[in-house]
């Protein structure tokens, strides 16, 4: 049996309001590729960041080559020989390949006073040669493709003589040819005895490259299996498990309702590819898919926040051009961003101001004077109707809990009286209790004649709320299911259906 390189046991980690890791374990052997799988938010990245010294852990033990270690910083991990390639690339785009690889450890000359640029380039060239990479060490990183940048990160990791290499979704942005090149390098490293942890959502790819698979779900360790022992269906089963709320949608869909929004043949670069769907009055359309599948991009395109290349949008059967969010609001479309703190709220201001922010014009009197009596009345009405828990209307929004902040955002869009509301991850970062309140609210809205698009990465949420579900993968819609047809397994199968597999 191969040597155990890394053993993590009983790992616990909490962030404010979230129990991110609960008694997690992981075992990595020398010379293997271990796939780490789980739904979005299952805790994969957090566990790996704990191993790479980015996050500290609350409890648990990490053994490296049989000895217990504490990994307090990225530097400490590097010194041990553990390197992580993060989802967001960590390179200096203005510097060259060689300069990036040797940052912090530059060879010097003239009494260590000057940089030895020649040595930097030569050593980088040697390193690139060992993994047979054709990249000019003098090229600026900003001028390289994402795939090449990824290879540069790998080369950099190798220059630390890493024995453990963690890759967080390295193939997310790569083409098939580039993936093949990446896998060639991964296999080469594996054969040299490097232990590789590969986080990915692409299951066919996992079947190809990995030796063993560790699955996580809901911040917990599920199981570790040999890749050859399981089918893709079995892996999906392990990932989604059984969950508590698989109830039917609370309001039935009525087939003959009018279509309020139709999107035809929407295209934008690589992010959105020929997207087509319809939304009916008082219906809830769930948009499922993995992170980066293009769901938010579609929402932003419909809302006019990003320009589109081609495509048509029909509202109430009429072709409509939406050039900016102002147009969208004119046509009664509201968009509640996935990042409410950045795009949805003025955090430092009070509840009242936030609720009326999108409709300030309504409350203006002569000379731009704001009618405070009216704003207070309106804000009080929505705070009441949405059951926002706040000590007063003057409470700063940043002091509210996530769920109540989300309600304030919803209230804000309700003042505009939008007919079509797009919710992007409406329950992200919200605890379970508040979640069910948000669900109730969304159902209320739908019952009162609103049409809702809900983007969510949480399958139980999609299943519980939606009348119909479209599933996206790599910018395309790969499947459309009615509430009756939908199961977690079917959605996952569509969500991982990459172009090559079609």
């Amino acid at each position: 049996m191969q040597d155990v390189l890394v053993l993590m046991e009983g790992i616990d980690k909490s962030f404010p309001g979230v129990h991110a890791l609960d008694q997690c374990r992981l075992e990595l052997r020398a010379g293997e590729v271990l796939a780490l799988l789980g739904e979005n938010g299952a805790g994969k990245s957090t566990l790996m960041k704990a191993l790479a010294g980015v996050h500290s852990i609350d409890a648990g033990q990490i053994f490296y080559k049989g000895k217990e270690v504490t990994i307090s910083s990225p530097k400490a991990a590097q010194d041990l020989g553990i390197c992580m390639i993060h989802q967001e690339l960590n390179l200096m785009p203005h510097l060259t390949v060689a300069q990036n690889i040797f940052i912090g450890r530059e060879p010097r000359r003239a009494f260590k006073f000057l940089l030895d640029e020649k040595a930097i380039n030569e050593q980088a060239q040697q390193l690139l040669d060992t993994i047979h990479l054709k990249i000019d060490p003098r090229a600026r990183v900003a001028d390289l493709s994402v795939a090449k940048q990824q290879m540069v990160e790998i080369a950099k990791a190798l220059s630390f003589n890493s024995e453990v290499l963690i890759m967080d979704e390295p193939t997310a942005a790569l083409t098939d040819a580039e993936i093949a090149e990446l896998f060639r390098i991964i296999r080469q490293l594996r054969d040299k005895g490097v232990g590789i942890i590969h986080i990915s959502h692409r299951l066919e790819e996992i079947k190809q490259i990995s030796d063993r698979i560790t699955v996580m779900r809901d911040s917990r360790y599920v199981d570790t299996v040999l890749t050859t022992d399981v089918t893709i269906d079995q892996i999906i089963n392990m990932m989604v498990g059984r969950t508590i709320y698989e109830s039917a949608p609370e309001i039935p869909e009525n087939a003959d309702r009018e279509i309020v929004l139709e999107v035809r043949n929407l295209n934008r670069g690589q992010a959105i590819k020929t997207v087509h769907f319809t939304l009916k009055r008082t219906a809830m359309l769930g948009v499922a898919g993995l992170m980066g599948a293009g769901r938010t991009e579609v929402a932003r395109a419909i809302f006019g926040a990003d320009p589109i290349d081609t495509g048509e949008i029909y509202i109430m059967g009429k072709k409509t051009t939406i050039n900016d969010p102002g147009d969208a609001v004119q046509h009664s479309i509201g968009y509640l961003s996935e990042d409410r703190k950045r795009y949805g709220l003025a955090l430092g201001m009070d509840v009242e101001t936030n609720v009326v922010l999108a409709t300030f014009k309504k409350f203006q009197g002569a000379f731009g004077w704001v009618n405070r009596v009216l704003t207070r009345k309106i804000a009080a009405h929505y705070v009441d109707a949405l059951q926002v828990k706040t000590p007063s209307l003057q409470q700063k929004v940043k002091n509210l809990s996530g769920g109540n902040q989300q309600k304030v955002v919803i209230g804000k869009w309700l003042t505009r009286d939008c007919d079509i509301l797009i919710f992007d991850e409406p329950t992200r970062g919200i605890d379970i209790g508040a979640k069910s309140e948000i669900y109730r609210l969304l159902n209320d809205l739908a019952q009162h004649g609103k049409s809702i698009i809900m983007i969510s990465s949480e399958l139980p949420e999609i299943l519980r709320m939606s009348h119909r579900i479209v599933v996206m993968c790599e910018g395309r819609i790969t499947g459309e299911l009615s509430a009756a047809e939908a199961t977690q397994e079917r959605i996952m199968a569509f969500a991982t259906q990459r172009e090559a597999a079609v």
Binding site: M92, P93, H94, L114
Partner: protein, 331 residues
């Protein structure tokens, strides 16, 4: 028969970063041509020397600020810190009677100290550079006034001090070529700055910080320490500018200085230093400094009122930044 496959790598003729420098240089040439066509007095030896001399102080000041802006920071304090250095030089030489070289080193140290404090406040206390250096702007201004007792300090007892900027080593070597030392000092400091930026670890980290500070930190670089080093270096260049200014006008004027920082920032930005960090060259900054002084000088020769000169300079700065943004968006 064999077929050879030619692999060609597409490379832009001029890298976009160098593009701004080329554009700035072209703009400088165009300005010079326009002014020499419109006024016979423009390309005279005396006027050219005047332009060179006018560029010296602002140019040296802009060198330090170029480093700071490449890290993605800003230094609003260079104008008044320059005055502070000049006043300290006056205190050391005139008030305390120290030898001139010691006084000059003291002036440079005063600038370096102010820069060091900027760096510590920014790196350790995590105060945004804009605020930290705005604070330093006022602190240095106040200190200059307090220390000098609101009065200028003259260097009348030490005539050699005035010759540092206004003497001409070149003139004594080549008769008739009376270019003041200040100009020589500008070019020497520019070459030193350029070497530091391109050949040393400090220069490398200056770019790395501006390009992606978090990635630099994750690579194990002590980000705080290098940031402090960059601000200190900028302070030393500011000190050089202070000594140059004092030497040129043979006095330390405690009320002078504020406003110089804007011309220095403008020089760097016109020369292609990106306010979002990671890009910039010393050559560009020097060209930028010359564009500003050629413009000011040319407009004055054409009898454009001073107020309108300011308006034009302001417009040019906005145009230069806009160009930079357009260039970036295309990427």
């Amino acid at each position: 028969m064999t077929t050879t496959v030619a692999t060609s790598v597409k490379k832009p003729l001029v890298r976009s970063e160098a593009m701004q420098t080329v554009l700035a240089f072209a703009a400088l040439i165009v300005l010079i041509i326009i002014f020499s066509l419109t006024s016979a007095n423009f390309l005279t030896f005396n006027n050219v020397v005047g332009i060179l001399l006018a560029t010296a102080v602002n140019g040296v000041l802009a060198l330090g600020i170029t480093f700071v802006i490449i890290t993605g920071g800003i230094d609003l304090s260079v104008g008044t810190v320059m005055t502070f250095s000049a006043v300290m030089t006056g205190v050391f030489i005139t008030n305390m009677g120290l030898p001139v070289p010691v006084g000059i080193l003291g002036g440079l140290a005063a600038g370096g100290l102010a820069g060091f404090v900027n760096g510590v406040v920014i790196a350790k206390l995590k105060i945004p550079p804009f605020i930290a250096t705005l604070g330093m702007l006022n602190v240095a201004k106040g200190l200059s006034l307090v220390i000098s007792g609101l009065k200028p300090i003259y260097f009348n007892d030490t005539p050699v001090f005035n010759s540092i900027a206004m003497g001409s080593v070149l003139g004594s070597a080549i008769p008739g070529f009376d270019i003041p030392n200040a100009v020589l000092i500008l070019f020497i400091t520019a070459i030193i700055a350029s070497l530091i930026l391109s050949m040393t670890v400090l220069g490398r980290y200056t770019f790395a910080l501006g390009s992606n500070e978090e990635a630099t930190r994750l690579s194990g670089v002590n980000v705080d320490r290098w940031k402090i080093a960059v601000y200190t270096l900028a302070g030393v260049f500011t000190g050089v500018a202070g000594v140059l200014l004092a030497s040129r006008i043979n006095s330390a004027q405690p009320a002078l200085g504020q406003g110089y920082e804007l011309d220095a920032i403008a020089a760097a930005v016109i020369g292609g230093t990106s306010l979002s960090g990671g890009e910039g060259t010393i050559l560009g900054t020097i060209i930028g400094a010359f564009i500003i002084s050629v413009l000011t000088n040319g407009l004055r020769i054409l009898s454009v009122p001073q107020e309108w000169q300011t308006v034009v300079t302001g417009g040019i700065i906005v145009a230069a930044v806009y160009l930079d943004i357009v260039r970036r968006r295309r990427k």
